[in-house]
């Protein structure tokens, strides 16, 4: 700042001289008043890193405060993730396979578990009755032989593959197997996605011809 002022002063004096004989520039600048202490950068002052009792206590105090805030925040965030969910279990038994007729799309577990159980000639598969568009519950229309979502009109073949409306991908299949007692065992938390080529895997289809 002070350098700049000096330069300006010099320029002004030389230009005022104009085309006349060159004179030595007049240094008319008075030294700037010394800034008060609070406006000057501290020379060799380590600031808060000066090790004295006041700073140690202050830094310790602030670290404690910071730690308290961080731990409280983490605790509050963790608090929002419940350990126990009061939701229906994802794994359930769905009755004996011979109770289902060939060609049947069973809506028996739709309300409670949101799963359709479909029996074909070769076996079973379980479709999760959640529309892949925005999560509504489609309806099984036996007359049209398709699943139809009431929200935005998505339609799915009985295999679960989408063919009309806004749904971007086929319905998801849930794990289906046979439990120890011979009943169908379904686990909604294990999913098989068509678009990931998972419909051929064990559990996505239960071979059964009995």
């Amino acid at each position: 700042m002070s350098d700049q002022t000096t330069e300006n002063v010099q320029k002004d004096t030389s230009s005022s001289g104009g085309a006349g004989p060159k004179t030595t520039p007049v240094i008319s600048q008075t030294p700037l008043p010394r800034k008060p202490k609070q406006d000057r950068p501290a020379d060799q002052d380590p600031g808060i890193w000066r090790t004295n009792r006041r700073n140690v206590l202050a830094v310790t105090g602030w670290m404690g405060f910071l730690g308290f805030i961080i731990i409280s925040t983490v605790g509050a965030l963790r608090y929002m993730f419940p350990r126990v969910l009061f939701e229906p279990p994802t794994k359930f038994k769905a009755g004996f396979p011979q109770d289902f007729m060939i060609g049947e799309v069973s809506e028996k577990y739709k309300d409670e578990k949101r799963v359709w159980i479909v029996r074909e000639k070769e076996g079973f598969y379980a479709l999760i009755s959640i529309c892949t568009h925005l999560g509504c519950t489609p309806r099984w229309l036996p007359g049209d032989n398709k699943f139809k979502c009431p929200c935005h009109g998505s339609g799915f073949y009985r295999t679960g593959v989408n063919f009309e409306g806004p749904a971007p991908r086929p319905l998801e299949r849930a794990f289906i197997g046979i439990a120890d007692d011979g009943q169908l065992q379904i686990d909604r938390s294990v999913k098989f996605l068509y678009e990931k080529n998972e419909w051929g895997r064990i559990g996505s289809f239960l071979p059964y011809t009995g």
Partner: protein, 257 residues
């Protein structure tokens, strides 16, 4: 009359109303400055500020609607219980059997719809008049946050009747949270970061893996306590900045009136 004059001279009266209504410039200013409820208001209102054609009064109407919503909302809280067992019944009770219940609920509902509309119109007006330009850039950003808060308040309130429309609308709405980048279990890089259906951002919103009783409670607390509190803080900043940025914006030609 004489009694009134006597009363006005008493210490009791003067401790509440510190200034007389004598119509002088100084008194007009002091009445605003010395009142906790009016001090957010500018001491002097420029003439162009009364021109409704320029501002449409939309910001003020939005705030008025917020006050209406706060008051009717608190009144509704006296009868509404945010549990799956009672929520729908209480809403029906309010609509059918509580004296003035339908009026309070309908005021709350319509004011909520209107507030979304007026916030949009306010934003539209600010855009059209270029009132987002310096020195008001920061207040535009505060306004954007307030718009988001208004929409969140509207969305969270939508679940509370706990009818089919509410549950499925919120199911659809929160399903979008599945696709949140990094924090959603179906979003980009979500699964890679270990997001599952029972630990992602949607799970926190719902308090479960599907819309259920915990969701109702979370949305209720958010709707009645958390979001209004945040909104009030941002509103205070918003109004304060209006004054700090040179008062209510007006036509260029009349700015220095």
């Amino acid at each position: 009359m004489a009694l009134m004059e006597q009363f006005k001279k008493s210490e009791f009266y003067k401790s509440i109303f510190r200034h007389s209504y004598q119509d002088t410039q100084r008194n007009r200013a002091l009445q605003i400055v010395d009142n906790v409820f009016l001090h957010l208001h500018p001491v002097r209102v420029p003439r162009h500020a009364t021109n409704i054609g320029f501002t449409w009064g939309m910001g003020g109407i939005t705030f008025l609607l917020f006050l209406v919503l706060t008051i009717t909302g608190v009144i509704l809280m006296f009868y509404y219980r945010p549990t799956a067992q009672y929520a729908y019944e209480d809403m029906k009770y309010l609509m059918n059997d509580v004296p003035f219940g339908p009026l309070m609920r309908n005021m709350h509902r319509w004011a909520a719809h209107a507030m979304v509309l007026t916030v949009m119109l306010h934003m539209f007006r600010v855009f059209l008049t270029g009132s987002y330009k310096p020195p008001r850039q920061f207040n535009w950003m505060v306004g954007v946050i307030l718009l988001v808060l208004t929409l969140l308040l509207s969305f969270s309130g939508y679940l509370l009747p706990w009818d089919q429309l509410a549950i499925w609308a919120v199911t659809v709405g929160t399903n979008m949270a599945r696709a949140t980048p990094l924090l959603g279990h179906e979003g980009p890089f979500g699964p890679e970061l270990g997001m599952r259906i029972d630990n992602d951002v949607r799970f926190v919103l719902l308090g479960g893996t599907e819309v259920g009783p915990p969701t109702l409670l979370r949305f209720y607390v958010g709707h009645c306590i958390f979001l209004p509190l945040i909104a009030v803080i941002f509103m205070a900043v918003h109004f304060w900045r209006v004054r700090k940025d040179g008062g209510i914006s007006g036509p260029e030609s009349k700015k220095n009136f």
